[in-house]
Subunit: 145 residues, 2 copies
């Protein structure tokens, strides 16, 4: 989805076309990694824009609620967000915290159905992330650390 389409989407959802929203959309579109609110704040600060953090938190969670961005939690105490795209998962490096997206042909559908029936639990989504050591850190950090 491109910038314009997103702005329209926002309006369709009854959200007004504001500066912060445009900036957030642009940031997420250019990001090559999921971003946490503090990351975004820093990025904007670098550009001499100092949006209020309350606003960022509010806006980001609104965009997530509207399914324009999706939420990722790698267990380090911050929620990260990325442009909503096809369903995928992540490789998270435990040393340098780099995050790589991996599209995965969904092998979990059948499993979900079985679980749903067996536990009488209606599944709406799942999270699946892989943790380990990325290429760079395998080479660099070999013995030390």
């Amino acid at each position: 989805m491109k910038q314009q389409a997103i702005i329209h989407e926002l309006q369709r959802l009854g959200l007004r076309n504001t500066r912060i929203r445009r900036e957030l959309v642009a940031i997420f579109q250019h990001a090559d990694n999921p971003l946490a609110v503090p990351d975004i704040a820093r990025e904007l600060a670098d550009r001499r824009l100092y949006p209020n953090k309350t606003t960022l938190y509010r806006e980001v969670s609104r965009l997530a609620r509207c399914n324009l961005i999706s939420e990722l939690d790698i267990g380090d105490g911050k929620k990260r967000y990325e442009m909503q795209t096809d369903h995928h998962h992540h490789l998270v490096c435990e040393q340098c915290h780099a995050i790589t997206c991996v599209p995965i042909a969904n092998q979990l559908c059948q499993l979900e159905e079985e679980l749903a029936i067996h536990h009488d639990f209606s599944i709406s989504r799942h999270t699946l992330e892989f943790y380990g050591t990325c290429r760079k850190c395998q080479k660099a950090g070999g013995g030390r650390r």
Copy 2:
């Protein structure tokens, strides 16, 4: 593993046999849900024991590092811990936050191998949790909320 075995395991790891550790082990053994530190503190407070929270955090993360308990993050800002047992995953109810463990025949091994080779990323573990609505909430919360 039973209480005694765990105490021995602690000692084998060079950890001293202290009151707090014994209490923690007992709590985790009787827990039927993963527990966060604030939960544990509350539980101990109910029993008129008021351990320092710093100690709890330190101790819990030590037990996790020693693989006596395992960590679970359901994305609500608290880390939960549960007795280390066989590999399993969780059904997390988005309404009442109940957590159900589901043992899963690991279908992910092959996928992990493929990912590892393809991305030159050495995978050490993964997280897989399912979110949705539990039976109780399906009945109770049907239309409202």
